[in-house]
């Protein structure tokens, strides 16, 4: 940890008494909102507070929450990655297609089935690495690069699969998204582990704190000896890998890789992050906040579903709900969103 300061003047005075600082609890701003949503849900539907229902909410949100985790870190460091939602679909599709025969919609390369998972993660590293290369080394606009990547990757998936779902998925690939550990779906455990690791790193590791320094003032971060480009690049790669993991979980849960897997998720990703207090300008917000944003959206969605809102309306009401949630958060935290 930090070496002792070298006092040039005199021994330090005792630190002033710590006042109650609201800012330190800003993280928890959404907790009351989540509790209120639980109460509303319980009043409206008797099964809302049953373990089964709550686990269902967590499972549904697990994939989104991994994307939000990645995006939140990318936003904190002052960038954004729109291509995450295409990575969710392409990486599993490409990995599976490299294994299965053409008769099942594959590419007839015939790699061994056990390679599906490692291959998939590697594709994630490659996508994040390419994004980082174009943004940091070539110097392109991050928004445009990842928007281009969003379209290109989605198109690539359609080209590989000819628009069809891949059904013949190796068993090893389905395991994580469909199994249960200690009474909870593995997907939920994976999210808990990823968030716990993320929260720890961003709070207790110098490398994690450097994300805030870079997002807050990258020039100052550089002058303080932080290797700005390297950190941003690594964060972009981590974001893509998290998107890939989300894709693997989704494939396992659904049993196949749909041609539209992940489509439309990026809007929810940004919504959850902003609701959770992550600033789009960088340098502000916490992962716990982002997680509470995800949970809040999940609860709202489940309440709507249990109320029997028709499938035709659920998308429209979902958009409206997100804007409503932004308004609620704006006043719950007392802060303007950037």
């Amino acid at each position: 940890m930090t070496k002792a300061m070298t006092p040039p003047v005199s021994a330090p005075a005792p630190p002033p008494r710590q006042k109650f600082q609201f800012a330190r609890y800003q993280d928890l701003a959404l907790v009351p909102v989540i509790i209120i949503l639980l109460i509303i849900g319980a009043v409206l539907s008797p099964i809302f507070l049953t373990p089964g229902n709550l686990i269902a909410v967590l499972t549904q949100q697990s994939e989104l929450s991994l994307l939000v985790l990645g995006q939140a870190m990318i936003l904190i460091v002052g960038k954004m990655d729109l291509s995450l939602e295409s990575t969710v679909g392409l990486a599993p599709a490409l990995a599976v297609a490299l294994i299965i025969p053409a008769s099942s919609g594959g590419l007839d390369v015939g790699l061994a089935a056990w390679m599906a998972l490692p291959l998939c993660l590697l594709i994630g590293v490659a996508i994040g690495g390419l994004n980082g290369f174009l943004i940091l080394k070539v110097g392109l606009s991050g928004f445009m690069v990842t928007l281009g990547m969003l379209t290109a990757l989605r198109g690539l998936q359609l080209a590989i699969t000819e628009g069809k779902s891949l059904i013949d998925v190796p068993e090893s690939f389905l395991y994580l998204g469909s199994t249960t550990w200690l009474g909870l779906p593995a997907a939920v455990w994976i999210c808990i582990i990823c968030y716990a690791a993320g929260i720890f790193v961003l709070k207790y590791l110098r490398a994690g704190r450097s994300l805030y320094a870079i997002g807050g003032n990258s020039e100052a971060a550089r002058a303080a000896g932080i290797r700005v480009d390297r950190v941003v690049w690594i964060v972009l790669i981590i974001g893509s890998v998290l998107a890939v993991i989300a894709g693997i979980l989704m494939t396992g849960r659904l049993g196949s890789v749909a041609a539209t897997q992940g489509e439309g998720m990026i809007f929810q990703v940004f919504a959850a992050a902003v609701i959770g207090g992550i600033s789009l300008q960088g340098g502000k917000g916490t992962l716990f906040g982002a997680l509470s944003g995800v949970l809040m959206l999940g609860l709202v969605e489940q309440i709507l579903r249990l109320q029997g809102v028709s499938g035709f309306y659920i998308k429209a009401s979902y958009g409206a709900v997100i804007i409503l949630a932004l308004i609620v958060t704006r006043f719950a935290t007392g802060q303007k969103q950037e």
């Binding site: 940890m1 930090t2 070496k3 002792a4 300061m5 070298t6 006092p7 040039p8 003047v9 005199s10 021994a11 330090p12 005075a13 630190p15 002033p16 710590q18 006042k19 600082q21 800012a23 330190r24 709070k203 207790y204 590791l205 110098r206 490398a207 994690g208 704190r209 805030y212 320094a213 807050g216 003032n217 020039e219 100052a220 971060a221 550089r222 002058a223 303080a224 000896g225 932080i226 290797r227 340098g283 502000k284």
Partner: protein
């Protein structure tokens, strides 16, 4: 019409629990240059924002030429009465000079914008005020000096005859400051009134007729400049008798132990500079803004890549253009501009002060206690280590940057403009830190134009056009040094 261009009476302003102005007043006679001085936190900025209608006082009144000030909502009326050239620019960098001059009135009253007419009027306006700038130029391409002149011209074209200059000289070099003063004098002859804010008391004597001193949110004194001696003025500002109390360090023990060796270093804007610093030695580096002194210092710290030459600390070579390597080798740095490079404003004092420290783990409690130590050691006025640095005054922010530079206990310090934009007291304590560190056996390079900063140095190197042209031992005379900085030989 009143003889006063602007008056404020009984003005009080609170921000939460802080009293920013306590029943203060100011009377600025039409046609004079009136200086407003005071330490950081004295209330100068608050008064400026009240005089420009950006904030409403809790009590008191403001008037211009005897007329009461317009309501705050009426921006147009305020702009006719008063204009302010802030340290931070209020022009739009990616628009042309012409458009900036007539911003939000580009149609010149016609409804549709005629670009030809706009350009024509702009060049007329620039000619009237003798500003040699092409109206088609983008503002982002202008120098700080040209940008300020464009802002002044814009203010005068709106009809304001009262201009507030908020630390206009902070980013200018010597000749540019002189040109600004000449222009102020000639505009004054045409009846323009100035309120001039500066931390450089010498400038007050050069260009102002009256001076008002604020201290701790209160009005202390207003007097003709000719009747205020420099010690009196400093006493009014600090509430303590005596001038600037900076340790000269001439009793510092010297040593022959070489710590920093720079050999034939070349880079952007400077070439072939060699320098050696021993333990406990403080070397001053002076020169105009274009002399290459900043670039040289930033190269030593690894912010810029050298094109050739080498740097070594304690005998081992330091990789060029690599800040982490420089930190590891034991070089600490206060960068040129604290807002741009020195601080992450939204983060806490503790976090900023420990940003460069080594080790993978950051325990918040240890970080906080390191922050508290920094606050105590460097005399930072703050509520606590968790306070964001954006809340602090300039002098205290600079102390946090200094704390960060010293956090790894480096053996070489590179201090670039270490006292820029800080008040007299903070200057004393910052220079005191430099002296104390030198006494502990560190070598330091102080890059600055301010004579007070250079007085703490054992020797001063003067750079001109990327070369070291002169070296002064302790005991130099001000005129000599200034002449060398400006590229004139005094002999």
């Amino acid at each position: 019409m009143s003889e006063f261009a602007a008056t404020a009476r009984g003005v009080t302003k609170r921000f939460g629990r802080t009293l920013a102005l306590d029943d203060v007043g100011i009377e600025i006679r039409a046609g004079e240059s009136h200086a407003l001085v005071g330490r950081n936190g004295a209330g100068k900025s608050t008064l400026v924002s009240i005089l420009t209608g950006m904030q409403v006082p809790d009590a008191g009144e403001v008037s211009f030429f005897g007329e009461p000030a317009p309501p705050v909502a009426d921006r147009a009326a305020w702009r006719r009465h008063v204009a302010c050239v802030y340290q931070k620019s209020t022009v739009v960098p990616e628009l042309s000079v012409a458009e900036n001059l007539f911003i939000n009135r580009q149609d010149l009253g016609g409804g549709l914008i005629s670009w030809r007419k706009l350009r024509h009027q702009a060049s007329e306006l620039l000619e009237t005020y003798d500003v040699a700038v092409n109206p088609d130029e983008l503002v982002s391409a202008l120098t700080v000096e040209q940008r300020q002149l464009v802002e002044i011209a814009r203010a005068l074209s709106i009809g304001s005859r009262f201009v507030i200059l908020d630390e206009p000289t902070a980013q200018l070099d010597g000749p540019a400051i002189e040109r600004l003063f000449d222009r102020m004098r000639s505009l004054q002859d045409k009846g323009v009134t100035f309120l001039f804010i500066s931390h450089h008391l010498q400038e007050v004597y050069e260009v102002c007729q009256t001076v008002t001193v604020y201290r701790d949110a209160r009005h202390i004194v207003t007097a003709p400049v000719a009747e205020m001696s420099k010690p009196d003025l400093i006493e009014a500002m600090t509430g303590e008798a005596g001038g600037l109390n900076v340790p000269s360090g001439d009793d510092r023990p010297s040593s022959s132990d070489e710590v920093l060796k720079v050999s034939a270093l070349s880079g952007e804007s400077f070439s072939d500079i060699s320098l050696s610093a021993t333990r406990g030695e403080v070397i001053g580096l002076a020169g105009s803004a274009s002399s290459g002194k900043h670039e040289f210092a930033e190269t030593v710290y690894g912010l810029r890549k050298p094109s050739s030459g080498s740097i070594s600390v304690d005998g081992s070579a330091v990789r060029g253009g690599d800040v982490p390597a420089a930190l590891k080798a034991g070089i600490g740095c206060v960068p040129r501009d604290r807002h741009h490079q020195g601080l992450v404003l939204d983060l806490s004092i503790a976090e900023n002060a420990t940003m460069s420290t080594v080790g993978s783990f950051v325990w918040p409690s240890a970080q906080r206690s390191a922050g508290s130590t920094a606050i105590a050691s460097y005399d930072v006025k703050a509520a606590g280590p968790d306070q964001p640095v954006s809340d602090l005054s300039g002098g205290n922010q600079q102390k946090v940057v200094m704390a960060r530079a010293l956090a790894n206990d480096p053996s070489v310090l590179v201090l670039i403009n270490p006292t820029a934009g800080v008040d007299v007291k903070s200057k004393e304590s910052l220079l005191g830190v430099v002296d104390a560190q030198a006494r502990r056996g560190k070598a330091a390079i102080v890059v600055s134009d301010e004579l007070d900063d250079l007085r703490v140095c054992d020797r001063v190197l003067v750079m001109f056009h990327g070369q070291v042209v002169r070296e002064f031992a302790r005991g130099w005379r001000d005129q000599e040094l200034i002449a060398a900085i400006e590229g004139m030989s005094s002999e």
